[in-house]
């Protein structure tokens, strides 16, 4: 298998309801990525696009085909990925495999979502389509509900008193906002404190408003090229050196591991093994903090803390710049925003920008050589990517 590099990135601001269509947002990000790669649309051999709910938010299927045509990449193979919140990470992993195998030399992979446009009731309903529609959705399950159940289970299983866990969870959101404040692409630009979190509206007990990511609109994408092609295009290639992906059944079928998401452990192990690294080798992580508790749970399964002790990373500021494992210095899903089809690609863009020294100085992490991304779609599609600075 050949080495594969990220040669260009494109990322729209993540916002509340956008006045552009999915296709327009993706085309903007795509042109930025293609231009940054010193390529033209005609050089792109295939497109891999994550988009979960375009059918519902705009009555639009097949956004991938319209996007290719829109930017002048006429008649190229273009495929849509639906993996819930992991869609564009899965798209990138697939794109990586096609280039690594030698089938393509230069492709575009990313994603777009306009979830905020739908308004909360419809967005809540359509997101809930990620659950088992027959056996679990009828109970009134929603995504905040699912992670709320994991939070209560975490408290009882690991004997962390709920009050203490909620404070640890609040620290996740506080840190997210602290860094999102300085990210010009982020949806929220305001700092919050623990009290703000604990006083906010109860969504699904014990999760409150500031424990939850927003509905967001936006697009993000990258151009991937073979090592040889990358040499012609950039002197700052970021290689994808490890990939992993796994799936899960409905929540009740994960009983042997909850609140751990077993799929993440399977996927991360694949990615780490392929990259030849251990958790302690990761310099920067963008993980799936759709809800504050999800961040704590993810950090443990990714090997950054023992099970039941993830909250201590926050208490000891180990996840901040300068800490043992900087996590979500972009602001994460909570403060940067979470247009679900785009999030996986957004995480890759962030790590590339950090490695290239291109982020705002207030949130620049020094010396990032190895980055890890982590996305969780639905009740359990997980995709992990390991990135390595190539210069």
């Amino acid at each position: 298998m050949r080495k594969v590099a990220v040669v260009g990135t494109g990322h729209t601001p993540f916002t509340f309801a956008a006045e552009k269509s999915c296709m327009e947002l993706f085309s903007e990000a795509a042109m930025d990525a293609i231009n940054e790669s010193n390529l033209r649309p005609g050089d792109i051999q295939a497109m891999f696009i994550g988009n979960v709910l375009g059918d519902f938010s705009e009555g639009q299927l097949m956004v991938q085909s319209f996007c290719a045509d829109d930017i002048g990449a006429f008649h190229i193979p273009s495929t849509r990925y639906e993996g819930g919140c992991a869609s564009s990470a899965v798209a990138i992993r697939d794109a990586f495999i096609w280039v690594a195998s030698g089938f393509y030399d230069a492709v575009l992979a990313g994603g777009v979502e306009t979830a905020a446009k739908m308004g909360t009731p419809l967005a809540t309903r359509t997101f809930a389509m990620g659950h088992d529609s027959h056996y679990e959705y009828p109970t009134g399950l929603t995504f905040p509900g699912l992670f709320a159940m994991l939070a209560h289970l975490y408290s009882s299983k690991y004997n962390v008193p709920l009050g203490k866990l909620k404070e640890q969870m609040a620290l996740v959101s506080v840190q997210s906002h602290q860094y999102g404040l300085h990210n010009h692409l982020a949806q929220f630009h305001k700092e919050i404190d623990v009290e703000d979190v604990l006083k906010s509206f109860m969504v699904c007990s014990p999760l409150q408003l500031y424990d939850c990511c927003p509905f967001s609109d936006g697009a993000a994408t990258i151009v991937l090229a073979s090592e040889e092609k990358a040499k012609e295009l950039t002197d700052k290639p970021v290689y994808i050196i490890g990939v992993g992906q796994s799936s899960s059944g409905k929540l009740s079928s994960q009983k042997d591991y909850l609140p751990r998401i077993r799929a993440r452990e399977v996927s991360a192990k694949q990615a780490y093994a392929m990259a030849g690294i251990k958790p302690e080798d990761v310099d920067l992580c963008e993980l799936h903090d759709c809800f504050s508790i999800a961040s704590i749970i993810a950090s443990e399964s990714l090997g950054f803390a023992e099970f039941g002790k993830g909250g201590e990373l926050l208490e000891k500021r180990e996840t901040a710049i300068g800490g043992k494992i900087p996590i979500n210095i972009s602001g994460g899903l909570k403060s940067k925003g979470h247009p679900i089809g785009a999030t996986g690609a957004s995480q890759v863009c962030e790590i590339v920008h950090q490695m290239r020294g291109q982020v705002e100085p207030e949130r620049q992490v020094e010396g990032v050589k190895i980055g890890l991304t982590d996305t969780l779609g639905g009740d359990g599609v997980v995709c992990n990517l390991v990135l390595q600075k190539g210069w």
């Binding site: 909360t120 009731p121 419809l122 809540t124 309903r125 809930a128 389509m129 529609s133 027959h134 056996y135 679990e136 959705y137 009828p138 109970t139 009134g140 399950l141 929603t142 905040p144 509900g145 709320a148 159940m149 994991l150 209560h152 289970l153 408290s155 009882s156 709920l162 509206f201 109860m202 969504v203 699904c204 007990s205 014990p206 999760l207 059944g249 409905k250 929540l251 009740s252 079928s253 009983k255 909850l258």
Partner: protein
């Protein structure tokens, strides 16, 4: 390969207060809700079995937000129950005011109450012939 215990059959049985699942010929364990393959060992040699409907609460949430069209249900309590036979089953807990629910219910014994609540379905399940008459949801009460 025929799908032996479909949602249609599970749903009809639940509306009559019967909890059906599958018992594995190879490992003897139960799979509920039913699947094509055994939850535990992956075998597809499974019988249809009736479960007791009894178990204990392993986790819960009280929801104050609803999917579009279900706002009248608010607030409501979702529970994950570990059935006596082993599988976990998601349902609703109905014999306590949702605003009074706390971590105290974790570990409490529950059983399937009579008359499982039925969700009528919405625009996205119009074609669901397997759910004619609505989707029954396991409705638990304290044992």
């Amino acid at each position: 390969m025929d799908y032996k215990l479909t949602f249609k059959e599970f749903n009809s049985a639940l509306k009559k207060d019967k909890l059906l699942g599958r018992k594995c010929h190879d490992c003897g364990k139960f799979t509920c809700p039913p699947k094509m393959a055994c939850q535990e060992c992956g075998s597809t040699d499974l019988d249809i079995a009736e479960l007791s409907g009894s178990g204990k609460v392993v986790t819960f949430t009280v929801s104050y937000v609803a999917s579009q069209g279900r706002e009248t249900e608010l607030p409501y309590t979702i529970v994950m129950v570990e059935l006596d036979e082993g599988p976990w089953l998601m349902g609703n807990l109905t014999d306590i005011d949702p605003n009074k629910v706390t971590m105290e219910i974790v570990g409490k014994a529950v059983k399937l109450g009579p008359h499982s609540k039925v969700l009528p379905g919405d625009a996205y399940s119009i074609g669901a012939k397997e759910a004619e008459g609505g989707f029954a949801r396991p409705t638990f009460v304290f044992a």
